[in-house]
Symmetry: C2
Subunit: 375 residues, 2 copies
Amino acid sequence: MSNKNKTLTNVELKGFNFEKLVLESGKVIAPVTIAYETYGVLSEEKNNAVLVCHAFTGDSHAAGFYSGEDKPGWWDDMIGPGKAFDTDKYFVICSNVLGGCRGSTGPSSTNPATQKPYGLDFPVITIEDMVNAQKKLIDSLGIEKLLCVAGGSMGGMQALQWAALYPQSICSVIPVAAAMKHSPQQIAFNEVGRQAIMSDIAWNNGNYYQVEAKPERGLAVARMVGHITYMSDSSMEEKFSRNLKDKEYSFSFTADFEVEGYLRYRGGAFVKRFDANTYLYITKAMDYFDVSQDLPFIRNGFVKFLVISFASDWLYPSYQSENIVKELKMKGQPVTYCEVKSTYGHDAFLLEVEDQTRLVKHFLNNVYKEISHGK
Amino acid sequence: MSNKNKTLTNVELKGFNFEKLVLESGKVIAPVTIAYETYGVLSEEKNNAVLVCHAFTGDSHAAGFYSGEDKPGWWDDMIGPGKAFDTDKYFVICSNVLGGCRGSTGPSSTNPATQKPYGLDFPVITIEDMVNAQKKLIDSLGIEKLLCVAGGSMGGMQALQWAALYPQSICSVIPVAAAMKHSPQQIAFNEVGRQAIMSDIAWNNGNYYQVEAKPERGLAVARMVGHITYMSDSSMEEKFSRNLKDKEYSFSFTADFEVEGYLRYRGGAFVKRFDANTYLYITKAMDYFDVSQDLPFIRNGFVKFLVISFASDWLYPSYQSENIVKELKMKGQPVTYCEVKSTYGHDAFLLEVEDQTRLVKHFLNNVYKEISHGK
């Protein structure tokens, strides 16, 4: 779907450093680095900035190509010249979350107290902490008010947290396939992933950075569970059905079915790019997340919401988006809601480009028009 | 729900031994023991026998109490005097499946060739193999024709396999919360469980019986995934919501939420009663299972079906039961179908006693009446 002609090139990974961050738990991380990228140009009035927040295992590379690389950013279909987040018009920012393993300070970073990787000495963080780190980045760029904060899945949770924490600093929010709080089923799936990692003897209570053996098997199992929840029953049927890798049953424990081979492959690929401790920290942050008491009480009445969900998404089911809409409507907040028809399950937020493009484009256009007129 | 007054006491575990079983793979297991229990009395005409098949982690202890024990069998609410499977009227048989770890020959049994536990030298088995072993047991009891074969989940798959293999030997079938074949999503969840076990270093390629360390952590993770799939989003919300074990977030990786504590507890309890290799073998048998080509072509037109599914069951969704019904109806087979309203998810087949009792009781009564008249 990605068209290289319409895609940004020579994208650069940047780093923003600041002295310290006081966390929701009361603990402090110092110093902090936040990895980020920007696309497009910040207007003179600094009123065209859009913060895009990544999902659980994403990173700051949301769009375009790094010099000499072939793989575009994770939301490249949505961010670029003429796309939903039109970089001819808007200045788009994406940062790796606090606790991440793709350039931002996290459990694999060096603990200044010991000069060794933090491991489990890294304090437990929350979505609020992630957003507070992003706020410092946005402040450092001289942006007083973001045109929009948008994101899918955990990215949508960050967007909602922005609305709850900093309503005066944003014009609009686009939470996609997200929730105000994790349900017990969502917590349960995360807990299984954590247990898979912590059960791996190589996890070694989080101290594996300086030895060769990594908790790769546990992390791969965690990822396999994740992949099932990202797809839908019907998208798995469409993609794999009961297709065999070979002609006949092996009558052994090798991967007979294509779906087994796929899960093993995806599990194996994941461990090469993701840190097991970050898996623990970020899932915990998601499970702690709960803005159901804060969101309906935004002090500033002028945050506009575009809420998007997907019909076959059973990990972040539409009813969770509808609950967001209901709570906001009850308090008179302006909300637009759309459930996109899709068979892709939760993955739809990465795959259903056409519908999302239309929805986001018009929404952003209207918000931008309004604030430009309002000046 | 279980009423001890109406429950069988002094239930005995029996063993049926036979020389050998030729498997679907062409391999042979010899000798074979099948553990089983019976409830009620076999009529002189031997026409009142009902075979109840257990689900994945069940066993032959379907009803009543062992002498001196307090925990009734797994379907005690359904089997006993006056219950759905009325032991005042019917002779009910339940056996532990081939490959099991509760008395029947399986990977933890002694391999006569080595005098050590089979481990992975145990041949891969199928649902057809399980049913062929049951057939030998039924033959040994002198029963030419079963009044009914019934079961939930994998028990229902065995019941369907009976219909496909031995239509002349059964009058009726009751598959509950079952499927004609596993979907890729069902295979995927099983594969995750297998990978969790095989990733545990203590699994040791299946050779752990004679050492102290068992693959308990991997098996517990597998079970935790299972438990999520047995419940529904709404039954988890009802049971746990976001309730905390303590008053506040721990900001650590201990179990903060009740749902986490529950999963850890259930995982830990399971490893005490279940063998990790049996987990591998039985899940593989389920994944291989596919009677979608055989079932519609039953040669004997007089097998009656009662198909039951549950509205909130997303592991064995109602559409899979509806597919069974459709295929049978297309071939003119007599089928009764009921989707029971329930929020319990897949667990409903163990919990929704009242509706199932009514459905099963009338159905069995009619089948029994008909064959008694037919004589």
